[in-house]
Amino acid sequence: MLATYAFFFLAFIAIFFALLVVFSKNPIHSCLYLVLTMFAIAGNYVLLNAQFLAVVQLIVYAGAIMVLFLFTIMLLNLSSENEPVKSNLIKFIATIGGGSLLLVFVLALKKTDLGPAPLMFPNPNQQGMIQNLGKVLFSEYVFPFEVISILILISLMGAVVLGRKDKKVNPINE
């Protein structure tokens, strides 16, 4: 019962701050609102008994990725003054497009029969615990796990190569 209220509260927080991410003028505010959205989604993971993913969500998304975003925004010295804006006509058309996408999804979902069983709060099965996830990850999914480590290494090298100051390239506008 309490968990049901917690779900609706977290859903409201997530949607409210997601809208603020899109509509706030200042990119730093967008970034901070996105951190709050991530926190709400991590709370939903706890409700669904996926404790490991909740912690990973907090560390990787709310911690590492958003710090990277904030660092880039502050490095480029962005604020609401030099924020590029689209014309109102394009915003109007884009809102209609996004709204119709949501409408199509919702209508498609209305046609689908998902079964009557409600989600149990708290969930009795323990598949989200780190012990069980570790067993599955290192037995069934051990090859993707190794491949993903190579991907991380490549992206690390790519970021370093891209971010390096290259003397040979001439800036376009100068």
Binding site: L34, V60, V85, A159
Partner: protein, 103 residues
């Protein structure tokens, strides 16, 4: 008043978050906010995968979410490096200025 949460509620929540992300990609020109909207879409998909994994009692969905998070971290690192390079060359964060790549 609703007493129980069904899988439908999670699907509606994830769909709403996904459409807000699509809206953000469509109405913003700032490349970094565009990236944040893409992160929002990835997160909504993650939420849906975890909800179904929890309902079916299958851990595979949560493993997929773990992989998606890793790929998202790699994508953000490279993407932000590209944005910094774009800013260094064009002195602008506007995604419309990236059309200089055509010439």
């Amino acid at each position: 008043m609703l007493k129980e949460v069904f899988i439908d509620h999670y699907i509606y929540l994830a769909l709403t978050l996904f459409c807000i992300g699509v809206l953000g990609v469509l109405i913003r020109r700032n490349a970094i906010v565009l990236f944040m909207s893409i992160e929002l879409m990835l997160n909504s998909v993650n939420l849906l995968l975890v909800a179904f994994s929890s309902r079916m009692g299958d851990a595979a969905g949560q493993i997929f979410v773990f992989f998606i998070m890793t790929v998202a971290a790699a994508e953000v690192a490279v993407g932000l490096a590209i944005i910094v390079m774009l800013y260094r060359n064009t002195r602008s964060i506007d995604i419309g200025d990236a059309n200089k790549l055509k010439w």
